[in-house]
Amino acid sequence: MANKIANNIKLGVFVIAGLLLLIFALYMIGKKSNMFGSSFTLRARFRNVDGLRAGNNVRYAGIETGTVEKVLILNDTTIEVIMSIDEKARDYIRKNAQTTIGNEGLMGNKVVNIFPNPIRGELVKDNDLLQTVQQADIGNMIGTLTRTNDNAAIIASELVETVKRINASPVLWRILSDTTLPANLSATMVGVRSSAEHLNHSIAELQAIVSDIHAGKGTAGLLLQDTAARATASRALNNIHNVTAEADGLMQRLDSIASVLQSGVSNKEGMLYGLLSDTAFTQRLSRSLNNVENGIAAFNEDMEALKHNFLLKGYFKKQARKKSQ
């Protein structure tokens, strides 16, 4: 009898365990479908629901908040999706929230995503119609990929053409097969590097000079920075200018004299014409000059003789001592 009761208890536990598991499974599935909690209805209208069906999940900001209740065709371009949303989400979903249809993962079921709008709006009420945003579907993405693929094919064919031209170019191949080219290029690069170093050095020096000039060092710096020197230079330039002007006037006067002399010669009158054209006069003048030279020489002898005369000797010695002092 005791054994029978124990068996009955075991059977009861077994059956109740099975029933509890069934109830748990039904509760979990029902809870997912908002069957056991209070909910409210929201609507959204799309041009294309992309395979969405009743029972698919609804997410608000990525959190599952409800399920799709119905998908209705309103007209040839509008599909209305009626969603059952958990009452707890009512305090967060606003009328300007945006609704899209997406996928749960890459190949998962369709899902309605409700995104909060950054602009704060009024909270939703039962049966409100939410804004929708049509997202790019797989077909559009494949279309874009096809265009990209076509472009890649064009680029590849052009690349092939370029490579063919490179292969057909003897000049290029000569350059590529030239074994001395690397050494030459290396040497050139060494030269270029050296030149660059020199250039850098020169530039540094030039900078130093410019710095010195700016600092007022050297003649150029003095000229640029010293105001007194600049005034002196300015005055010197003025003087040069004045001298040039005077020289110019002198030259004009000389020019007029030369013109007068030229006109005298041209008219065969005046002393210059006589000096240039009268040979007898020239001879006389030459003789007179010779006589003057001879007379000066004789006079110098006389004067030397006077120096040695005892009457005047003392005077000349006195003059010589004065000069030596």
Partner: protein
Amino acid sequence: MKPDKPAKQLQAFFDEAGRIARFTGWYFRQAIRPRYEFKELIRQCFIIGYQSLGLVVLTGFIMGLVLTMQLRPTLVDYGVESQIPAMVAIAVVREIGPVITALIFAGKIGSSIGAELGSMRVTEQIDAMEVSGTNPYKYLVVTRVTAATLMLPILVLLSDTISLYGAYLGVNIKTVTSPDLFIWQVFDVLDFTDLMPAFIKTFFFGFAVGMIGCYKGYNSTKGTEGVGRSANSAVVLSSVMIFIIDLLVVQVTDIMGFN
């Protein structure tokens, strides 16, 4: 004689089908009529249900663990390793759990009923019951078929649960998944359309196993040899019937839009 053999076989097949149909109709007629054998029903539920639990739990656990480990490499190749709980849940709840459990049940209970009733038949215990005024069909068949019909769904629920536990352990061999996340992933993919058709078909599986076991045993002949044959044919026919019912249920659920 040879040309007649297929015709005789066909005739035998339809004869058998007709006998089974009559036997089944008899069950419903006897089941709804008093007097009800509740004590025997409870005893049979204990034997058929509770005493099958160990075997079903063991096979269910291995089934979930092995399925997870076999699925993993392929899913890892596709980069959807995280979908293992979902895939195992769908496979176990919709198909593997009910069918495998029913086959195990058919092997254990179908043969047991077939052999028990067969031996009672050949030892003329059933005839003795008739003589003593007890309705052997009501006492032996109705209780066993009803117990099998009621117990198999419970066994399947327990088997599914243990399978999912095995799958949870299988998932955690290579990665770490919390029990909460695993349960969420399992029930995220399951729907009433997954659970209910699978649950309802187990009643049909249980009924078929019980009914075929009882029919084969109740109509056993030819002594001890017939007992063994009854047990064997009960298992074979029950297993075939499980697949046929499964096929029909899938077709019906597909027509109803549950797939």
